[in-house]
């Protein structure tokens, strides 16, 4: 029998179910592809939150703004292909503290570090203090392990099964 591993995608996903004798808000049940399909490009929508820690889902479609965080972040490509461009920020422009990703006003000044092209299942390091940008030729989805920050969007009532 041929093996068939089932992944989801923007074009094809099936959300599971939650049937509990409990308050469903406590479980915040959502689906990454459903969240991405209802998001504007590059919105970073929280789908998980552990106090100050979050996982954000983003739909990448075109070239994103540039971001930087004072700590490492990690992106997993869940659908499509995403190019990650990196620039080493001048020390004066790098975040000194705080948490979470913030959006830069424009393209950063600094040396180009390089780029990574990731496809489904690829995990990419977004190093602390490096400016980064997502680029995709067609709508793609990534989930980002990070901390709650200025660009994190929380709309739990909209994304969760209640």
């Amino acid at each position: 029998m041929a093996v068939q591993t089932r992944f989801g995608s923007l074009g094809s996903y099936e959300k599971g179910s939650i049937e509990l004798n409990d308050d469903l808000k406590h479980y915040a049940f959502s689906n990454m592809f459903e969240v991405a399909s209802k998001s504007k490009p590059f919105e970073r929508v929280a789908v998980a939150k552990n106090i100050e820690y979050v996982a954000e889902v983003t739909k990448v479609d075109g070239a994103s703004p540039w971001y930087v965080a004072p700590h490492d972040e990690f992106a997993i490509v869940m659908d499509g292909e995403i190019e990650f461009n990196f620039v080493k920020l001048d020390p004066s422009a790098a975040p000194a503290g705080g948490q979470g990703a913030k959006q830069l006003a424009g393209a950063p000044n600094g040396q180009k570090m390089g780029k990574v092209r990731g496809r489904r299942g690829h995990q990419v390091l977004l190093p602390a203090g490096a400016a980064y940008q997502f680029v995709s030729k067609s709508p793609s989805v990534a989930v980002i392990q990070t901390l709650l920050g200025p660009v994190t969007v929380e709309r739990w009532s909209d994304i969760c099964t209640l």
Partner: protein, 329 residues
């Protein structure tokens, strides 16, 4: 923790007619026959299928007793206090408590770890690996043959920053002795393309995480793939049933990366059923700190778990300073 932790050695009894030794750890006695483990304590006794017991035990030791409660079944299990461990029987089961046969004893973690490892070594025969999926290993049933010389435990493998970085935990590959599992034969094994400008060598990094998971030779055995501050992402391949019921001492989050898992959810303190969650590829769900959960994966699947490893969380949840669920909305 309800009493001073005991630092004791497990007592090994004589072998029975099947060749298996019996054991005593504090007030608990363990013996096995061809099919079952028999557990006795001063106020009661319990019987459990041997496969389930061994699958739970080797994971419990390998995980360092994990976060919170590990229920081997609804009656027997351990509760981690990070340095000491409760072994309990019926302490979180309404029926046992009503009957007055619940029991709990606190040991140093080292005592329990050594004790459980001693039992596992004596009771696991060659050809059976409790960390493998049932279709991929032999049977634990029957009389004693020859003790397995395979490593019984696979510790909780923890990347410090990210898998595959220089000096960090290696990504699984053919070279590391991890072929693609039969159930993930169709998973792409391509690697991300990395182009680094001169002067920035080693600063950009990416891996095929799904390929890494597809090469796991064990099931229900998470390993940390990336860490930012105290936020840990742990990945694992799941097939058949989680051989423990996990009651966490903090909130955790599950990300279903492929296929599906059915989660049975119960009240953590009483075992009363709360219902079922079916997670399919792309689904995300919190597992609150006041439940116990057990997963059933019809086909080998990929799961990522996001944990907050802040050491002060168990006390904050236990004291009620933090709600047992992650979000107010």
């Amino acid at each position: 923790m309800t009493e001073e932790a005991k630092n004791v050695d497990i007592v090994v009894g004589p072998a029975n007619h099947l060749g298996y030794s019996s054991f005593q750890l504090g007030g608990f006695e363990f013996s096995r026959d061809e099919y079952f483990v028999h557990i006795k304590w001063p106020k009661g006794k319990h019987v459990m299928e041997i496969d389930r017991f061994l699958r739970a035990m080797v994971r419990d030791i390998g995980w360092g007793f994990f976060y919170g409660w590990i229920f081997f079944d609804d009656v027997f299990g351990t509760h981690n206090h990070y340095g000491t461990v409760d072994i309990f029987a019926g302490a979180y089961d309404e029926g046992c408590k009503a009957a007055g046969i619940d029991y709990l004893e606190t040991f140093t973690s080292d005592s329990v770890s050594k004790g459980f490892e001693t039992i596992s070594k004596n009771w696991i025969n060659e050809g059976y690996d409790p960390l493998n999926a049932p279709m991929e290993t032999g049977s634990p049933m029957g009389e004693k043959t020859r003790e397995s010389d395979k490593p019984l435990l696979r510790n909780f493998i923890a990347a410090k920053r990210m898998l595959g970085l220089k000096g960090d935990v290696a990504v699984r590959s053919d070279e590391t002795g991890h072929p693609i599992n039969r159930a993930f034969a169709d998973v792409p094994v391509d690697n991300p393309d990395i182009e680094v400008e001169p002067g920035f060598e080693g600063q950009l990094h990416a891996i095929n995480l799904f390929d890494h998971i597809a090469r796991s030779d064990v099931t229900w055995n998470p390993s940390i793939s990336s860490a930012t501050r105290n936020s840990l992402c742990c990945v694992t391949s799941e097939e058949h049933m989680l051989p423990v019921i996990h009651g966490n001492d903090r909130n955790e989050w599950f990300f279903q990366l492929s296929d599906e898992i059915h989660w049975k959810v119960q009240d953590k303190n009483t075992g009363r059923p709360r219902g079922i969650i079916v997670m399919k590829a792309g689904d995300v769900c919190a597992m609150p700190a006041d439940i116990r959960h057990q997963g059933f994966s019809p086909k080998r699947s990929m799961l990522m778990v996001m944990e907050n490893a802040s050491p002060d969380l168990p006390e904050l949840y236990a004291s009620g300073k933090l709600a047992p669920y992650p979000i107010e909305f």
